[in-house]
């Protein structure tokens, strides 16, 4: 997935409110001293790289899903595990300098349920093991015999879900074979996805249990200093068009009012094309007032290279994640030159 979560983990590092200052978002622009830094042309080693990389400052396992109930009612869900390191190592015991944060949400057309978990490393309350794969925090987990076959669970005070995921295509590597550049100054992260999951399972909502089927998109990303110091927020899109083509694109907003964009065009067979700065564009069409913030909830997204000119609309404009770090994350519908579904994430609007 994107830069999105960098901000969230970075927040943990400083626990300070966002100031659009020289430090970028919540300290994400801070120097990566002592931590490993992503380098171009990476060679991933799977399944080990599905696990944690404690020598990098931040990392996440981020899944979003578009689903429908038996009557065709659309739903969205999010499951995220963030890792944030105070020092570039991990040990057993309470003093392991790694902190875990979980976010989960279920979105309907009218409701948006969220939950959040915190955990220390080193005591077994949260962690990630690559084989067999398991990422967990408390009773939430994403686990399976391998990265292609997973079971996903989360619960909150008002909701829970338990769904199974089966990969229908290959892993996708963003940027240059998984080296994803985030600014003109060269900040970057390692970034790959599994956008081809088929999903079925059960949502437990206040009104009862709902069997659902759908598709899911899993992002893996880790870095140590992924943002330039003058980047103040981002808008991230993962879109699945009818016919099997997919688009990942993000727009990083910079303090001087300009944007840095990047994206990946994904053919139905999993062939990818990196979209350099400027070839993916996104313009807000309409904003929604959420707690006195104006958050864009309808967008015009264009990739002229592939004749894509679509309107992306939030299924529930109120999908605000009002947690220790607040951001917008929710399912979207696509219309225009192509139609489809997807997920939208926006940070830096608080």
């Amino acid at each position: 997935m994107s830069v999105k979560s960098l901000f969230l983990c970075g927040f943990l590092l400083t626990a300070a409110p966002f100031i659009a200052a020289a430090q970028g978002f919540g300290g994400l622009g801070t120097e990566a001293e002592g931590f490993a830094v992503p380098t171009p042309a990476p060679e991933f080693n799977f399944p080990a790289d599905h696990g944690a990389h404690p020598d990098y400052r931040i990392e996440w396992w981020y899944l979003t899903a578009n689903m429908t109930g038996p009557d065709g009612t659309p739903y969205g869900l999010q499951w995220t595990l963030f890792r944030s390191a105070l020092s570039p190592f991990a040990t057993a015991g309470w003093d392991s300098p790694q902190i875990w944060l979980g976010h989960a949400a279920v979105t309907t057309a009218t409701e948006h349920y969220t939950a959040e978990r915190f955990a220390r490393d080193g005591i077994g309350q949260a962690g990630v093991t690559p084989a067999p794969f398991e990422a967990w925090i408390d009773d939430w987990h994403m686990r399976g015999p391998n990265f292609d076959t997973l079971n996903l669970r989360a619960s909150g005070a008002q909701f829970a879900y338990d769904v199974d995921l089966r990969a229908q295509g290959p892993l996708i590597f963003h940027g240059d074979r998984g080296y994803s550049v985030k600014s003109e100054q060269g900040q970057a992260s390692y970034y790959y996805s599994q956008p081809f999951f088929a999903l079925d399972g059960t949502l437990s909502l206040p009104d009862g249990e709902i069997p659902v089927t759908g598709t899911a998109w899993l992002d893996r990303e880790w870095s140590s200093q992924p943002l330039a110091s003058d980047q103040t927020g981002w808008d991230w899109f993962s879109l699945s068009f009818d016919g099997g083509r997919k688009l990942m694109g993000f727009r990083l907003r910079q303090a001087d009012g300009s944007y840095f964009t990047s994206g990946t065009w994904i053919a139905p067979d999993g062939q990818t094309t990196a979209l350099p700065n400027g070839s993916f564009t996104a313009e807000p069409l309409e904003t929604t007032q959420i707690n006195e913030r104006a958050v864009p909830t309808r967008w015009q997204v264009r990739v002229p290279e592939y004749d894509v000119d679509v309107t992306v609309s939030a299924m529930n404009p109120g999908a605000w994640m009002d947690l220790s770090v607040a951001y917008w994350e929710g399912p979207v519908t696509v219309s225009g030159s192509d139609s489809g579904i997807g997920y939208l994430e926006m940070t830096g609007y608080d």
Binding site: L12, L86, I99, G156, F159
Partner: protein
């Protein structure tokens, strides 16, 4: 003109420095007692709040080990992984022996919000986790300095003798790696998590309320102090009222002159009011400073008392809080305003050419007397009505106020009646003159005597309450702590072995079995008792059905404590549900003093059926030879000495705690009596100068100055004695209101009232001594009045 007016007003104080001193000293004393007591209360409450906030006790439900004191860290992880949102706490004692510090380790990531300094935001999370500091208040930090290798950070809001740190640091410092003591439950839990018994059957859940609700427990103590503070203030205000009234009366001539010279009335009133405001502020500042000394002196005793009585940690050191200064000054100004309103109104209403004769010390005017009588009767009637029909704590205090003020207002009339009776019966001329002269002096002394009445009544009332509490509580301890030795086991196995080992050596082994329960919709505890000779012989019941112990032992009935009975509106014969299928009649109600929550007792077999998972780890052992049993337990069984508690020790400790309470009460007794004595002294001194015209004729008729001085002294003693006689029934009435009304409303139990004639006699002697001391100097001055001054009375046409 203003300057002239001011200098004229000020000249009065210059000529009468004693009056100025009385006024300022009275204000200062009143403010001191009030603010001192308030400071002690505020300090103690701030300490409880800090304790509650830092430990999350009272705020959140907790999971505790059903047996022993440890929870394995794996249990915490298992609960989290099952979806139970719990925060771990490890705690233990470190630091100097004798005054150890309670070290509490928390995990800021899972602790429910607001726990400790991390939640409060005095340090951010990464800093807390990487620097691993220990938070404590300054005094506690000083104790730990050099004893621990973690950086100490001063955080004044942390409860005394408590230090908070990260769980990793706490486990390391306590040598408790992998162990936890309790788990705090977040208020909001996710849906669909399995039951607690399936994950951690060894843990029991304790509801947020009860057990640790220190504030409510200690309220009774603070109530005493507040009552004392209020009464002391009332006493002080009487003094101020007297001083202001006197000063205004004496300045009538000046007021007349100033007005005749053209000073507008309005300006004059403003000047006098500002003069008083300045004096009130001076008195207030002095008073708050004095109050600080009072509070600082009392606080260590109060802290020790509260710690002993309720286990509440109160800082022994006083912090100077700004709110304190403000409230002290405000109360001084307010008191002056109350005391001066009447005087200012009378100046405002005074006709320009009124007589300049001082009138305050004239005999009572009939009308004022009637008004006073009417008010007194009205207040006492209100008190009676409140006692009969009122409900609630506020009503209790209203009742107290009506009773005391009504009685104080009635005092001059009652005394006047007594003196009249005495004068009618007097045969000798001197005696008749003495009684008549005493009556004539009464109005001048009445305010001081009212102060004495209130001080005495407060002393009688509060000491009766404290002593009754002590007697009841020690009797209750005898009943509750019937066993000679108490032992606690570490594990279920050890408990079984211990019971088997002790059985042949003792006459009775009494397991202490209890669980948290909700009874009649109220938080409560359910106890299982092995009904035997101990219970049958020792337990007194407030109310009981016939064959109460037989029916409880048979499992056909249960006992409840007074709190539960009163709060739930239940009594002997009513039914109480204690389990899903178990409803039993109440066979008896027992007194349970000092416990905030309800309690029910059933027989041991019934308890085991209801709660088979609960095993007793603590036992009371009955024996004739406690020493031998203790030795057998330590030497033969191998029980650590720390697991054995001697009943005598507990009792001695409890009694020592009461001695502390008495120290505080006695100190306040002496203070209020001193204030009242001071009032008498000042009144007499003021009167002495004005009474020469009345004494000169007696002297001229042949009564020696020495004899006049002796009679002066006797008069003070007679008035004090009469006042004391009135104070005794008032004090007992006050005690009754405190014990039977205020206590029941506040805490749910009614204390039986005991009377302590010897204590009252001692108090009466104190009062007489105070009066004697107060009258000594004025009498001596009178005895030494130069004859020339007495003669002048006849020379000066008055």
């Amino acid at each position: 003109m203003t300057a002239t007016g001011l200098s004229a007003l000020w000249s009065h104080w210059r000529r009468n420095p004693l009056q100025l001193f009385t006024l300022v000293a009275g204000l200062a004393l009143a403010t001191a007692l009030w603010s001192g007591v308030q400071a002690v209360n505020a300090e103690a409450r701030a300490s409880y709040d800090a304790a509650a906030a830092t430990l999350g006790e009272g705020q959140y439900d907790q999971l505790l080990p059903a047996a022993g004191s440890d929870i394995a860290q794996e249990t915490f992880i298992a609960l989290r992984r099952a979806g139970w949102l719990v925060g771990p706490v490890v705690e233990g004692q470190i630091g100097p022996a004798g005054t150890p510090v309670r070290l509490v380790g928390i995990d800021p990531l899972t602790a429910p919000g607001g726990l400790g300094p991390v939640g409060g935001g005095s340090m951010d999370l990464p800093q807390f986790l990487s620097e691993q500091p220990v938070f404590a208040n300054a005094a506690t930090a000083a104790k730990l300095e050099g004893l621990i290798d973690a950086p100490l950070v001063i955080e004044p809001t942390i409860a005394p003798d408590t230090a908070i740190t990260d769980i990793f640091v706490a486990q390391r410092l306590l040598g408790a790696q992998g162990r936890l003591n309790r788990l705090i439950l977040a208020p909001e839990q996710p849906v669909g998590r399995p039951a607690l018994e399936n994950i951690a059957p060894d843990l029991t859940r304790r509801a947020a309320q009860g057990g640790s609700d220190v504030g409510r427990l200690t309220d009774s103590f603070h109530l005493n102090l507040t009552a004392f503070g209020l009464l002391s203030f009332a006493v002080g205000i009487f003094i101020v009222h007297g001083a202001i009234g006197l000063a205004f009366e004496q300045r009538r001539a000046m007021v007349r002159t100033l007005r005749a010279l053209g000073m507008p009335l309005r300006r004059l009133i403003v000047l006098m009011a500002s003069e008083l405001l300045v004096l009130a502020l001076i008195g207030g500042v002095l008073g708050v400073s004095l109050g600080y000394i009072v509070a600082a002196t009392l606080l260590p005793d109060v802290a020790a008392t509260l710690k002993g009585l309720y286990g509440a940690q109160v800082s022994g050191a006083l912090q100077l809080r700004p709110a304190w200064w403000l409230s002290g000054l405000a109360i001084s100004v307010l008191g002056t305003a109350i005391a001066a309103t009447g005087a200012l109104i009378s100046v405002a209403r005074m006709p320009l050419l009124a007589s300049a004769q001082p009138r305050a010390w004239a005999t009572y005017r009939a009308r004022a007397r009637q008004i006073q009588m009417a008010m007194s009767v009205a207040l006492l009637a209100t008190a009676l009505i409140l006692a009969l029909v009122g409900e609630g704590l506020v009503m209790g205090f209203g009742l107290l106020a009506c009773l005391l003020i009504g009685a104080a207002l009635a005092l001059p009339l009652v005394l006047d009646g007594m003196l009249w009776l005495a004068s009618v019966r007097a045969r000798s001329v001197v005696a008749q003159w003495f009684w008549a002269d005493t009556r004539q002096q009464l109005p001048g002394l009445s305010l001081a005597l009212m102060a004495l009445l209130l001080a005495m009544a407060a002393n009688v009332g509060v000491s009766t309450m404290v002593s009754s509490f002590r007697l009841t509580f020690t009797g209750f301890l005898d009943q509750r702590l019937a066993s000679e030795i108490y032992v606690s086991a570490q594990s279920v196995q050890q408990a079984r072995a211990l019971e088997a080992f002790a059985a042949p050596l003792t006459s009775e082994v009494l397991p202490l079995l209890s669980v948290e329960a909700t009874l009649a919709g109220l938080p409560a505890e359910l106890y299982g008792a092995r009904i035997g000779a101990t219970y049958r012989d020792n337990w007194g019941l407030l109310a009981a059905a016939p064959n109460v112990w037989d029916s409880v032992a048979a499992g056909d009935a249960l006992l409840v404590n007074e709190q539960l009975a009163r709060r739930a509106g239940l009594w002997v014969g009513d039914d109480l549900r204690i389990g899903p299928q178990t409803v039993l009649p109440i066979a008896g109600v027992f007194g349970d003093y000092g416990n905030p929550i309800g309690q029910a007792i059933v027989s041991e077999p019934l308890f085991s059926t209801l709660h088979p998972q609960v095993t007793a780890l603590r036992f009371g052992l009955r024996t004739d030879d406690a020493e031998a049993l203790r030795n057998a337990l330590t030497d033969d069984f191998g029980l650590p000495a720390a697991s054995i508690t001697d009943q005598a020790q507990i009792k001695a400790f409890s009694l020592a705690v009461f001695e502390r309470t008495f120290t505080v009460t006695a100190a306040l007794n002496v203070l209020t009596l001193s204030v009242a004595g001071f009032a008498i002294f000042m009144s007499l001194l003021t009167l002495a100068g004005m009474r020469l015209p009345q004494l000169a004729p007696a002297w001229a008729l042949g009564m020696t100055r020495r004899r006049l001085g002796q009679l002066e002294l006797m008069r003070a003693v007679v008035l004090a004695a009469l006042t004391t006689a009135c104070a005794l029934p008032l004090g007992l009435a006050l005690a009754w209101v405190l014990l039977a009304v205020v206590n029941v409303e506040a805490f749910g139990w009614r204390l039986p009232m005991y009377v302590f004639p010897r204590d009252y006699a001692v108090l009466g002697l104190f009062a007489l001594a105070a009066a004697l001391l107060a009258a000594a100097w004025p009498a001596r001055r009178l005895a030494r009045t130069p004859p020339a001054d007495l003669l002048k009375v006849f020379a000066n046409e008055r």
